[in-house]
């Protein structure tokens, strides 16, 4: 099967979004590993969970819409789900840490 050649108007924005998302998620993971206290570590991976995931989902929407020749929107499902669930986990975890360390 020969896959269709993507035009530059699709490939360049998708490539830029992918590389940006990868770099942002990597910076978040390095922050998760290197920061000193738990409360400082809490905020580092949220960058990858929001901005990195947004970049990758947008690139996925662009590429799959071009490949299938119709508008593909179901990546918005993951985006909405992530923006709804990430704060819930963060609040529960932060409250648990505050209870356990007795602040």
């Amino acid at each position: 099967m020969t896959e269709p050649t993507l035009s530059a108007w699709v490939a360049i924005p998708a490539a830029i979004l992918l590389m940006l998302g990868g770099i942002i998620a990597l910076i978040g993971a390095i922050g998760l590993l290197r920061l000193k206290s738990f409360y400082a570590r809490m905020h580092a991976p949220t960058m990858g969970a929001t901005l990195g995931a947004g970049c990758v989902l947008l690139a996925s929407m662009i590429v799959s819409s071009t490949v299938t020749h119709r508008a593909v929107f179901h990546e918005l499902l993951i985006a909405a789900f992530l923006t709804m669930t990430a704060p819930v986990t963060a609040i529960l975890l932060m409250r648990a840490a505050r209870n356990r360390t007795g602040m």
Binding site: E3, T5, L6, S7, A8, V10, A11, I12, A14, A15, I16, L18, M19, G21, G22, I23, A25, L26, G28, A29, I30, L32, L33, F38, R41, M42, P45, G48, A49, G52, A53, V56, L57, A59, S60, V63, S64, V67, T68, H74, E75, L77, I78, F81, L82, T85, V88, T89, L92, L93, R95, A96, A97, N99, R100
Partner: protein, 93 residues
Amino acid sequence: MNELLDLASGFAAACFMAAVLLALVRLFRGPRAQDRVLAFDSLYIAGMLTLLTLGIRARSAVYFDLALLIGLFGFVGSTALAKFLLRGEVIEP
């Protein structure tokens, strides 16, 4: 232009896999339980993004369903762990 997209998606997949490895290091090293739960939370998100990037690379829609399932079950798992740390019980009567 396919080579450019393959290069970029390979780079992004390598970045996300490195993020998974760094989160694994924090998962094993984390001094307390809340650090481990936080590392698990960022691990499943990085794994989900790896799957999405591989889906872009393969031009396939199958990876999307896997990513959605990982997102759903990862949220349930990390929320249950955080709730257990908070109250000592996941579902309270």
